[in-house]
């Protein structure tokens, strides 16, 4: 069954891996996004993720369901962490298992691409020079235009 979560807890990739493990699925694709120590030439000390929590969780559930349909498997798991994260810490982890490796890769790829495109989460970078800034992000409007579940 698909599984997803938006949480302040640290991410353990091994947990995700176990969630998607199934004896008939020989391929597991796992993706991790971690906090980089530099962005556009500026030294980064930490990143603060803010989420529209309830929607982020619902939207992540929709993304996970799409990936499951795409990959022909229900073994898709994704977690996005929010709050303050240090360099090297994982902000996002995705795991997909499948009998076929191409499906596992495609499923994981779909989840991370759609997270970047439409998950209502924002990132304030704290730089080593003491300043901090909201990262300019991606307009999620195209998601609305194509979302089949757009209300009314």
């Amino acid at each position: 069954m698909p599984w997803w979560e938006v949480t302040t807890d640290p991410i353990d990739p091994a947990v995700l891996q176990r969630r998607v493990a199934m004896p008939g699925n020989g391929a597991v694709s796992l993706f991790l996004g971690t906090v980089r120590n530099v962005n556009e030439g500026r030294g980064v000390r930490a990143v603060e993720y803010e989420a529209y929590g309830e929607m982020a969780s619902e939207e992540l559930g929709r993304i996970v369901a799409e990936a499951a349909a795409l990959a022909g498997t229900d073994r898709v798991a994704a977690v996005h962490r929010v709050g303050r994260l240090g360099v090297g810490e994982a902000s996002v982890a995705i795991a997909v298992s499948s009998p076929h490796r191409a499906d596992a890769f495609a499923g994981a790829r779909h989840v991370i691409e759609e997270i970047k495109r439409r998950l209502p989460i924002w990132k304030r970078e704290h730089y080593v020079d003491g300043r901090s800034e909201w990262l300019s992000g991606t307009e999620p409007t195209t998601a609305a235009a194509r979302a089949p579940e757009a209300p009314l």
Binding site: A51, E58, E59, W122, G137, T138, A144, E149, L152
Partner: protein, 91 residues
């Protein structure tokens, strides 16, 4: 009296702001009373007319109604949760 107006009741929606929008306006959550049949686009225009940080919001920010992305033409209903969504940066 010759012109039939919409139903007389009004609707209440909650407007939510996040991240840079929240900081721009200085408001995290706002209860707004609107005429029936107000669309997302009309609400946005109404908010921008309040001036200050509201006027500096983008003309057409992404909007979610009840936690799903919506269009400008979406009609609001009583009790809706309307979130203004800055460009996203998850991942």
């Amino acid at each position: 009296m010759s012109l039939r107006r919409g139903p007389p009741g009004r609707l209440k929606v909650t407007v939510l702001l996040f991240a840079s929008y929240r900081e721009l306006v200085g408001v995290e959550s706002l209860a707004v009373s609107l005429p029936q049949s107000t669309t997302v686009g009309t609400l946005l225009a109404e908010l921008r007319r309040r001036g200050g940080g509201w006027a500096r919001l983008p003309t057409a920010p992404a909007v979610a109604v009840n936690r799903s992305y919506s269009r400008d033409t979406t009609e609001l209903a009583d009790g809706d949760e309307v979130a203004l969504i800055p460009p996203v940066a998850g991942g």
